[in-house]
């Protein structure tokens, strides 16, 4: 029983703040206010993610693109998602949802959400490979922490670090054939047994992630492209209607998935930086846009430097790469008993690597669980929206 023919009355009868059902003929003012709150919350949350970084000088616990930061990003996503559902569904007459433009934008949203699920799965596997790096780094740390440091331990560390570098997709002399990270990850299916000195030094880094939770020809970059290709901001009267939160949520979803893919190893991401743009000139999107720019720049920088062959922007991985490189140089040239100065320097770096490992140890499992939570939330919401659409589709839907 639509109370009014005005499209805008689609908008939330439920105030997000009050979190309660308002009477059926909730007024348009109220709904505009809800939309405003929704937008403001989004803006605030993403600004928060942005500001975490600028205050990193004061040793923030969540450096930009660190595991902790990514977890916070996922938290933000979950919050936005819950609010979105409140705005869209809660206490609403289903029949309102089956009218234009929602009859078009909602199925598109659902379509996007399935693609987001694939990204979640790919990233879940990505975290597995991050954990693999962690294990290799832990070997190096354990070896380098020995006092006094012997050549045996240095070699042990070197071996582990060489594996780590391969896993990180950094070409070293033995594995110069990898053109891209992705190939490096999937290298070594049959590790070429039967000897040969190359086989002897075949590191642990050349593990093959057996599958990414997605088929072999699946491309994260393409996924993002197709998620964002039909994303158009609602115009005119629609821009104050329910199409707006659907649009906003779509942007949030694509952005979060994009950022996840940038941070965590993932199948086929070339040119990721240019595959998606956060809309300009929209108040709520400002912070997101800045984040997008920042991540995009980082990505381009790395892509240029490593000719596309790197694992991801995850802060811990970056640190691992930097410290790992230098420790590998150290271990490579190490002769007992070593120079005190170099030893000291290496010890500091090993400690840094240890700290990185510790953060991974603490953060990766919860991160994976959180990715899974996002996955389940998307599935759940998708079902809920479908149910509402179904109800709306019924000819004699009982009025609520």
């Amino acid at each position: 029983m639509p109370a009014t023919e005005y499209q805008g009355s689609f908008l939330g009868r439920i105030s997000i703040r009050r979190n309660q059902v308002v009477s059926m003929d909730g007024n348009h003012e109220q709904e505009l206010e809800d939309l405003e709150i929704f937008q403001k919350n989004i803006s605030d949350r993403f600004s928060d993610l942005l500001s975490d970084d600028s205050s990193s000088s004061s040793s923030s616990s969540e450096p930009f693109l660190s595991i902790a930061w990514v977890r916070k990003l996922l938290d933000v996503y979950l919050c936005c998602e819950a609010e979105f559902k409140a705005v869209l569904i809660m206490g609403r007459d289903p029949s309102l949802i089956s009218k234009p433009p929602l009859d078009r934008v909602l199925p598109e949203l659902l379509d996007r959400s399935v693609k987001a699920l694939d990204i979640c799965n790919a990233v879940m596997h990505g975290v597995d490979s991050v954990r693999q790096c962690q294990k290799l780094a832990e070997i190096a740390v354990a070896a380098l922490e020995q006092r006094p440091l012997g050549e045996g331990q240095a070699r042990r560390a070197k071996k582990a670090l060489a594996g780590l570098m391969t896993a990180l997709g950094i070409d070293d002399k033995d594995s110069g054939s990898h053109k891209s990270t992705e190939r490096a990850w999937s290298f070594g299916r049959r590790g070429g047994c039967g000897g040969g000195s190359a086989a002897k030094d075949r590191g642990l880094g050349q593990f093959r992630a057996p599958s990414w939770g997605v088929p072999k020809n699946w491309s994260a970059a393409k996924q993002i492209q197709s998620m964002s290709s039909n994303l158009v901001a609602p115009r005119g009267a629609d821009s104050t209607g329910l199409a707006m939160p659907v649009y906003i949520m779509s942007i949030v979803t694509v952005f979060v998935m994009w950022a996840l893919m940038a941070a965590i190893p993932c199948q086929e991401r070339s040119g990721l930086a240019s595959h998606f743009q956060v809309p300009r000139q929209l108040g709520w999107a400002q912070a997101m846009m800045s984040l997008h720019e920042k991540i995009g720049e980082e990505w381009k920088k790395k892509e240029k430097k490593g000719s596309g062959s790197f694992v991801g922007l995850l802060e811990e991985m970056q640190r691992m790469e930097k410290v790992g490189h230098s420790l590998m140089d150290f271990a490579d040239g190490f002769q007992y008993p070593g120079e005190a100065e170099r030893l000291e320097e290496a010890a500091a770096q090993a400690a840094e690597l240890a700290e990185t490992c510790r953060r991974m140890e603490e953060g990766l499992v919860p991160l994976q669980q959180q990715i899974r939570e996002v996955f389940h939330r998307i599935v759940r919401s998708r079902t809920e929206v479908l149910d509402v659409l179904d109800q709306a589709g019924k000819p004699s839907a009982p009025s609520v």
């Binding site: 694939d118 879940m124 045996g152 040239g333 002769q335």
Partner: protein, 694 residues
């Protein structure tokens, strides 16, 4: 020859070396493994230190060899040009020395003891190990040997490595002071080298470690598959790995773990096993499909994927996982935590991938025909439960898999329940105004009844699905009510909880079908036809229910009695509607006889009317359809039973009133036998008569 830096090399070491040199002045052969090793290690930037070390090692090496050779009695079985004639005796002797030293270390807690007195025997021992390791590597690189081909070599290497590990662990640098630094460094280096060797061999062994009975197993499985109902209880299906390979792996793993290389060992294991399991699984043919693609796939191809998925799930959880656990436990004996970690690590991502497919099916577009495949998947997951619970202990990582399993299953259950809702909706939403010609069985009746019949083959599973769903709904109801208003109240009637949810569901669908048919019946303008329609459909439903023990049981006697009496009522309605008027023509009432005298014009009218009515009924109703033969003959018999006796007696009483010949021929169109024949033509669905439908 001795270029040891005076300030670094301790006095006793120096002395020792001099002593050895005197006893054996021969130079190290250029291709000695020690030299090779040292060159590799030097890495192009030879410092004074390094050159020294190389020299040192050469010397040590030679000394050691000499010492061995001197005790040597038996000819060596492995006569390499390098002359490492390590006869068992000397080898044992050297090990014994080291063992003595190690037990001395274990007892000795004083920190100020010197290694000096033992240095000779340690070096001799290290020479021996280094040589063994180098030779081994050389052999491997030349493709001459691998682990397991020369068991004696393997076991002597293992014995030696065990001591190096102990030595390495015991010689805590800080305890012994500067003077022993070089020695300790050498121990560490050789230890690392030995561990790297073990790691490589471990890897190579794993690479070749394929189940011996995998192909048989696959075939076997396919056979039993076709026979149907094979639950995965067959314990004897597990894969066997070659016993000797497993024992080699076990020995190496033990050495690596006690040498402090557990992480390396585990990582190699995971890496290699993951590949092997992947290969095994890919043989079944289930490749991951992205969730997005699942939504776009045709149902036919998806069905094939589901079949493969079910098989893969049964095979992996039922066969590969237990075999893997067995393998892990026999390789990593005595390390339950490591075993649990490895097992979890290896199986988790496979499980998640399998479950993702289930999730993507559960969110795919629902339609009634998908129900059975959904249930196949649901059953497969359900049947895996006890196995999973058996395999996965209380480990925390396993909780994750277990809860994911429950989630995926309940998601499929939820999809199943929604399919029933869809079914209800499809009945409700059919508001078409067209009717089935001839009052025949409505296609929807056939569809629903056949569907329910199939459904009941999954009765137990569906009972479970609905029961679980109710539980979840109840648990959720608070949150849900808060969030969504009362949209989901449809599942929450507490009075219905104790009854079988599934039978309630079936009853609900049947009720909907009934009221649907009643609505449809009203669309017929002819009330008789409407009754025939109801009879046809009612009969069909009743027969279907009786024919399926499960539905029969679900619906119960009461329902059946009610249905039968409804049908009888329809029959009566039909009789009354169609035949009462006809029988009226044959009644001897006031209009026909007045004061005992037959009114001839009226009689003629009566015959005329009867003939016309009967003809019309015959014409119309032979186009009507009664498929059920029994019902058809019941109807005909009951019509004959009222019409023919009445007609016969009417004829008997009034026929003579009409003038025989022209008049009687004109009005008496039928004899009672003719009527019988015509009645037998009713409800034949005679196509020639169609279109005359009212």
């Amino acid at each position: 020859m001795d270029k040891a830096p005076p300030e670094k090399s301790s006095s006793f070491a120096h002395k020792d070396r001099e002593a050895w040199e005197e006893s054996n002045p021969s130079a190290a052969p250029p291709d000695s493994p020690a030299a090779v090793e040292a060159k590799v290690e030097g890495d192009g930037t030879p410092s004074v230190n390094n050159v020294d070390k190389i020299e040192e090692e050469k010397e040590e090496k030679e000394e050691g060899k000499e010492a061995e050779e001197s005790v040597e009695a038996n000819p060596p079985e492995d006569a390499t040009p390098k002359g490492d004639d390590d006869a068992p005796h000397s080898f044992d002797k050297i090990l014994e020395d080291i063992d003595n030293f190690l037990s001395y270390l274990a007892v000795e807690t004083e920190t100020n003891t010197s290694l000096e007195v033992h240095e000779l025997s340690i070096h001799r021992f290290l020479d021996l190990v280094q040589e063994k390791v180098s030779n081994y590597i050389a052999d491997v690189e030349e493709g001459k040997s691998r682990w397991g081909q020369h068991p004696d070599d393997d076991s002597s290497i293992l014995q030696a490595v065990a001591r190096v590990s102990k030595l390495n662990a015991s010689l805590d640098g800080s305890k012994w002071g500067e003077s022993s630094g070089l020695l300790i460094n050498r121990v560490g280096r050789i230890h690392q080298q030995a561990m790297a060797l073990l790691e490589d061999e471990f890897r190579a062994l794993l690479e070749d470690c394929k189940p011996v009975n995998v192909d048989n197993n696959g075939d076997e499985n396919k056979d039993t598959k076709q026979e149907g109902d094979d639950h995965v209880e067959d314990g004897d299906k597990s894969l066997d790995y070659p016993q000797d390979a497993v024992s080699h792996l076990n020995k190496i793993a033990k050495e690596m773990i006690s040498g402090g290389y557990e992480t390396e060992c585990c990582q190699v294991f995971i890496l290699m096993r993951r590949n092997t399991i992947d290969e095994l699984l890919s043989k079944i043919g289930f490749d991951g499909i992205s969730m997005d693609d699942v939504q776009k796939m045709h149902w036919e191809s998806l069905q094939r994927e589901i079949t493969k998925w079910v098989e893969t799930l049964k095979q992996s959880v039922g066969v590969y996982f237990p075999s893997e656990l067995k393998l892990i436990e026999s390789v990593f004996t005595g390390c339950p935590d490591t075993s649990a970690y490895l097992f979890c690590n290896l199986t988790r991502s496979i499980m998640i991938q399998m479950l993702n497919f289930a999730e993507s099916i559960a969110i795919s577009k629902r339609s009634p025909e998908k129900l059975f495949k959904f249930l196949d998947m649901y059953e497969a997951l359900r049947d895996m439960d006890p196995i999973i619970n058996g395999l996965f202990g209380e480990d925390k990582g396993h909780e994750f898999v277990k809860s994911e399993l429950v989630t995926a299953r309940s998601r499929l259950g939820e999809a199943t329940v929604s399919i029933f809702c869809d079914l209800e909706n499809s009945i409700r939403s059919d508001t078409a105004k067209n009717v089935v010609p001839g009052g025949a069985i409505h296609p929807l009746t056939r569809y629903i009844m056949n569907y329910l019949e199939l459904t009941c083959e999954y009765k137990d599973t569906l009972e479970q699905v609905f029961r679980d769903h109710l539980k979840i709904e109840r648990a959720d109801s608070n949150n849900r009510a808060e969030f969504q208003g009362d949209n989901s109240a449809q599942y929450q009637d507490p009075n219905e909880a104790e009854k079988s949810q599934f039978s309630l569901q079936i009853a609900k669908v049947m009720d909907l079908l009934d009221s649907y048919l009643e609505k449809k019946a009203k669309l017929y303008k002819d009330i008789s036809l409407s009754s025939i329609f109801m009879m046809n459909n009612g009969r069909y439903i009743l027969q279907k229910v009786k024919g399926s023990p499960q539905i029969n049981e679900l619906m119960g006697d009461q329902w059946r009695r009610k249905k039968s009496s409804d049908l009888r009522q329809c029959h009566k309605n039909y009789q009354r509607e169609t035949w009462n008027k006809v029988l009226g023509c044959l009644r001897d009432d006031h209009g026909l006889t007045v004061n005992g005298k037959v009114m001839k014009p009226e009689l003629k009218e009566r015959f005329k009317n009867f003939n016309a009515m009967f003809d019309e009924i015959h014409k119309t109703q032979s186009s009507w359809v009664v498929c059920d033969e029994q019902l058809q003959s019941e109807l005909r018999v009951s019509i004959s039973a009222v019409v023919i006796p009445a007609y016969r007696s009417f004829l008997g009483r009034f026929a003579q009133t009409l003038t025989p010949g022209r008049q009687s021929e004109k009005y008496i169109k039928y004899q009672s036998d003719d009527l019988e024949t015509l009645i037998d033509e009713l409800f034949d669905g005679n196509p020639a008569m169609t279109g005359k439908r009212k």
